[in-house]
Symmetry: C2
Subunit: 215 residues, 2 copies
Amino acid sequence: MDSSRRSFTRESAEHRREALIRATLTLIGRKGVQAATVRGIADEAGVTLGLIRHYFDGKDDLIYAAYQAHMSQLTDATMEGPRQAGEPAAHQLARIVRASLTPPVSSPQAVGLWAGFLNMVQRDPRMAEVHSRTYYDFRDRLQALIAPALEEAGETPTPERLRALAIACNAVIDGLWLEGGALPEAFGPGELVNIGLTSVGAILGLTLNDPGEET
Amino acid sequence: MDSSRRSFTRESAEHRREALIRATLTLIGRKGVQAATVRGIADEAGVTLGLIRHYFDGKDDLIYAAYQAHMSQLTDATMEGPRQAGEPAAHQLARIVRASLTPPVSSPQAVGLWAGFLNMVQRDPRMAEVHSRTYYDFRDRLQALIAPALEEAGETPTPERLRALAIACNAVIDGLWLEGGALPEAFGPGELVNIGLTSVGAILGLTLNDPGEET
DNA sequence: CTTATATTTATACAAACGTATAACAACAAG
DNA sequence: CTTGTTGTTATACGTTTGTATAAATATAAG
């Protein structure tokens, strides 16, 4: 007769919300959307399922928060490292390409997670909003770097051409990110980074140098 | 007391399997993986849920069959139209780019569907096998077209360079396909096709002409 | 040390899930 | 017209799902 209750400690709201979000991401990334049940998430976070409703309006609300957290985490990791004073834009562009195509940004977990969320986009308008905001945000940042990189090479593109270049560079980075994450064993070490740098360079008509490992 | 049974007609095994697969794809594409329940699928196919177990080993088996069907359908629609005798390889390459970036290949349904399946890839080895087979198949077909296209332009690439070019072209097509399908309102009509042709051309160092609408 | 608060656990509940099985009926064969 | 086969429906079963609510206890306040 074990009538003892499970012991627990009180935590701050922010800490608990974060733990539940992380547990959700871990589960979806490891076992897919179907594994992200309230009980599974609570287990992974080390709490009982009632807490989810205490900190979120419901499961959907938690999923939504997790999607936002994952995407901003992904963007942050990609854009890591601010542009140094006097650093050529082309150099920072190369750093972004490298960060996008190496772990942890490009990994089976990150891609699986992203795919699971993308499948929800067409059903839930709030999820769709996160998707479109994330896309535009990344593409705009890319465009804001492509413009000066071209200027450094002596070219001043029209707005239409600049837009097309940003869309194209975004697409090739996304495609390589996706394939490297979903099929990691298909590519040699550094292969995708090299291909990414070469391809973005070819599209822009520039030569991008491998920025090397971040320290 | 309505004790009448629902009337039905017998169908061939192939016809029924196809109907169940199509219903599964419709549901996942419209409402996400979570909506693809045995009852929902049976409803969509106009039968009762028992039939699923009659034609498939279980729900997972149906999902697997649906994934295979969707991917081969996608590949077929992309590669539609065999190469004409004497047609330049570059021309067929352009046709593939156009087909990849216009409906029905690039559409919210197709992309949502693909994302839902991709999320299952890391959990189920059979799904992973379909994913990797589909990827290699498409990339190999691309590579088999890139080689003669370069030769037509007087270039004979090394195997390493040919591989890198195929990976890069595949990636930019995939990326544009993805973004056009997931965010259709973000691009003007024909915009993605133009960007795709320009980008693939820039990567290969060729000029690809818009093949125009298929008749 | 007491008391109050609200975080956390525990339990309950209806609905929906995938699967199993029995009953029915459409169609072919004779 | 009768019979046999099996595609199909109908129903039931145990499990899991998300949510709701009551009970308990960790912690801060007095």
